[in-house]
């Protein structure tokens, strides 16, 4: 808080000098026509804002363009916030140029290591509508966060709180969101867990907001990441069949078909208010209660304050809990903390001392044979990662986890490193016999995460609950799939690339997860469902697959209905209304109509 005030004063001081100057800030993601560029909102918390990226898989993409109003005809300095995502002794891979008012500025952008304002040049503009375009030069993930034109020659702040405050000033953004909407339940995160939660609650009459930062629902199961759903249905077959996927090979375009089904099913509910392309950025609290969640449109920049008595955090990274001050865990517990040894695997399964290792992230990809020879440029910037590895598609084993990389703080670096692994391995495969006609079919640009923050509930689900097949009075989720924990291949052989993993399977009969793992221990009106539920690192090994997380979502949606009926908090469903809750779960199995909205 103090820091914010400090920065505010610093910036206002700074901006006093701007009173005579003209400046225009354009957020790249708000361009009217994205062209071949894509909106990447994954790293807002780390680098400040969604950005446009030229994800051309090596082929330059079509220009993105927009127009803006110039009030005063002047000479403007132009900066572009960008970064060289693969710095080193070679030409930066993500290079692009800027064209303003029809004139392409000579500076090549995407050259500085670390997000910063790169000076693009000076341009004389006439007043009125002016066109601006991003011209991709390489097709290798050049990225543009924003463009700033100013008659003042001082560079804006590069990063962090300073930049955030400056941004608000320049865009003259109000302190709080412009719009406020009320709901019975706000579900943040539209993966399988979030969608199941929304449906389960909406069916029983709740007015639900489902907020998701991508245009399509499904999270890791969406067509943008394409991991197939695994696990069993438990009590929620009816709902999960609306959302799950066939067992296509990971990365297959068959993901589209299931996505269409998913959207039809979610959208058929009038009382699910779907907010795709909206990304939550804060949770407001009063004491230990969340009063509202604020979200911003990922390209238009508009904001909404979502008000509700209860919230579901199915963001994967546990953002709502994090912003609200919920207790959370990250990393591997020591084996003796909960007694989670799997003897023959030792350290690879569970370490003697706790550490920050978690399971890693995947970026899937596919290639195909083209009709003719397909050229691919040299990618020296990818070699240090891929080395001599060659491949023509990614699999679940393409997984990056490293002790010095945090799955949230360093997610962009993880994604970029996987891109280097992909481009480099593909380039190596091209050099082999028969590789001349190989070309990319698809590469994800979204990080398929497996594990990061786990919010703490009244019960922490651990390996013992699996090995002992514990049955709880509040068992709401069940699973038979193996407990599946990964380790990096380079732990056993340092010459292996750091982006490959191995799995350890623990076969088990049916095990159960209690409702008490699905609401926050200290934030009174917060549910969680998905990989951010209350569990140990090994505890997550089994239930992290998407039908299981889907069960969690549905269980939480039903619990929200009980809460709504009695005006109570999640914990009280367990303490005071358990029987009714469990009966409602049974009852919804045969539900076949959509409840009317309230």
């Amino acid at each position: 808080m103090i820091a914010r005030i400090f920065y505010f004063l610093l910036i206002s001081n700074f901006l006093v000098h701007f009173t005579n100057s003209q400046s225009i800030l354009i957020e790249a993601e708000s361009f009217d026509d994205a062209g071949g560029w894509v909106v990447d909102p994954q790293f807002v918390e780390q680098m400040g804002s969604p950005y446009l990226m030229a994800h051309g898989m090596g082929t330059p993409v079509a220009n993105s363009k927009t127009s803006f109003l110039v009030d005063h005809a002047e000479e403007y300095h132009v900066w572009v916030r960008s970064k060289n995502w693969a710095p080193g002794e070679w030409e930066a891979p993500g290079r692009f140029k800027l064209a303003v008012g029809g004139h392409t500025l000579p500076e090549t952008l995407g050259q500085t290591p670390g997000w910063s304002w790169e000076y693009a040049g000076k341009v004389r503009l006439n007043s009125g509508d002016t066109e601006i375009e991003l011209v991709d030069l390489t097709g290798f993930n050049g990225r543009c966060d924003a463009i700033y034109l100013s008659t003042d020659e001082r560079t804006p702040p590069n990063a962090g709180a300073e930049l955030a405050t400056w941004r608000k000033e320049v865009s003259k953004e109000a302190a709080i969101p412009e719009e406020s909407l009320q709901f019975d339940l706000v579900v943040v995160g539209g993966g399988i867990a979030g969608c199941a939660s929304a449906i389960a609650a909406a069916e029983q009459g709740l007015k639900v907001a489902l907020i998701h930062d991508r245009p399509v629902l499904g999270g890791n199961a969406s067509s943008e990441i394409r991991v197939h759903t695994l696990g069993i249905y438990g009590h929620f077959e009816r709902i999960l069949r609306m959302l799950d996927t066939e067992h296509y090979p990971n990365g297959s375009p068959e993901a589209y078909k299931d996505e269409i089904k998913r959207h039809e099913n979610v959208e058929k509910y009038d009382n699910i208010h779907l907010f795709t392309n909206w990304r939550a950025y804060d949770a407001n609290t009063e004491g230990n209660r969340i009063t509202s969640v604020d979200a911003r449109h990922t390209s238009e920049g508009k904001r909404i304050r979502f008000v509700a008595p209860r919230f579901v955090d199915s963001t994967g990274d546990g953002w709502i809990g994090y912003w609200a001050g919920a207790d959370f865990m990250y990393g591997r517990e020591a084996v003796d903390t909960y007694g989670e040894a799997y003897e023959e695997w030792g350290e690879l399964w569970s370490p003697k001392e706790s550490d920050d290792f978690v399971m890693g992230s995947s970026v899937l990809w596919r290639t195909k044979k083209s009709d003719s020879k397909a050229d691919f440029p040299a990618v020296p910037w990818a070699e240090e990662v891929a080395q001599s590895h060659e491949a023509t598609e990614g699999t679940w084993k393409w997984e990056l986890s490293r002790l010095d990389l945090h799955q949230i703080e360093d997610a962009e670096e993880i994604r970029d490193r996987m891109l280097k692994a992909i481009y480099g391995s593909f380039a190596n495969a091209k050099k082999l016999e028969g590789g001349e006609d190989l070309e990319f079919e698809w590469i994800s640009y979204l990080v398929g995460k497996r594990e990061s923050r786990r919010l703490e509930g009244d019960y922490i689900f651990t390996f013992n609950d699996v090995t002992e097949q514990r049955k709880f009075p509040d068992s709401v989720v069940m699973e038979t799939r193996e407990v599946d924990v990964h380790y990096q291949q380079n732990l056993m052989d340092e010459d292996k690339p750091d982006f490959l993993s191995e799995a350890i399977f623990y076969k088990t009969p049916k095990y159960y997860i209690p409702y008490r793992s699905l609401y926050s221990k200290n934030i009174e009106n917060l549910f969680m469902a998905g990989r951010n539920f209350s569990c140990s690192h090994i505890g997550l090994g089994g239930p992290r697959v998407m039908r299981t997380t889907g069960q969690m979502g549905a269980a939480v949606g039903i619990a929200a209905v009980i809460c709504d009926k009695y005006g109570i908090d999640p914990r009280e469903v367990y303490t005071d209304h358990l029987e009714e809750y469990m009966s409602l779960i049974e009852a919804q199995k045969t539900y076949n109509t959509i409840a009317p909205k309230k």
Partner: protein, 360 residues
Amino acid sequence: MKRRRLLWILVITMGIVQKDEPEIPMYFDLPFQVGESFSRSIVGELMEDDFFAPITIELVSDKESPKFYTSDIKTTVCDDEICEIMYIKLYWDLVGEYVGYDTVSHHPLTKFDHEPFTKTDYARLHELLQNEGSILKFKKKEELIDKEKVKASDVVDGTTGATALEIKEEVVEGALYSSYTLWHLAYNGKIKNRLTGKTQSLLDKKLIKYLLNSNRTGYKLFAFQNFQEDDYITYKEYWLSSLENDIPLTRKYIIKNLPERIWTTASVQEAVCKMFTSYDVNTRTYLLNKLEETVQLSSKALEYISNDLTQMNRNQFRHYLDILSKRDTLTELTLANIRKAADDKSFKYAYLIEDYEWIN
């Protein structure tokens, strides 16, 4: 007199003729011959629900030390149409890792329709059994598909999204179920635990020394995992050498388990930090974490690391600078190295140095 000599000749020739065939396993990855003078003792018997017969495990030792474990196994193999009993002799090293197999006499391995294994098949089997990461690990027996009529590219497996073709490439052709059964026996967790438990019970100074002196990664790690505090002094050369050359998992173990009183001597800190360049990325982070928590830290040790600044990752570099920020005694060379890195145009993280005022 002559008769006695004759008797001796007869006795000797009988001896040569009657002598047992020396045991030369078909495949055996340990660097010695199975000698005739090796002694055997029974470790125990294991019986699981899905075992055909109890598995008896033997420990084989020579005069110097225990050497390996072995078991003569009788197990069943079925496909959709027919079943048979399979005999095999498996060998594991002292830490329960598969090192070889042999067929049991009169019971060669066969593929279905009783075709005997070819030499290539036997070699392929050993290759498969050596592969700890085989796809077979993830498959349930019911999930194996062995129908010629199903096109490999159409079939997607249950757990890993691999195709039947990938499974086919790993197993012995025509012996899918035998391959599966044998792999799961070679990597049976209960057997492994029994073996490591036995080795642990046999540990004495002599055996620890034997394990440390071997070239086997598993042996060395096992020795370290059973070190008492004093062993870190007695065997200093060994763990320093492992820090430099061994696999990341072993390095991590050593760094995390160095006893307090050994770590808090300047010479040890310096010896460990001096090898920073040879450490893999994760070991470097473990070391940096340890340095962060160490109260009495040799500034020479920190200096050694400063020689490798340009090799660090972004977060590690920052971490290192954070550690330095909390120390008041930095050597001249440390500061000089940092300034050099700041000016190095090819060092991608030079820009981070700007955030630290005490450097400038």
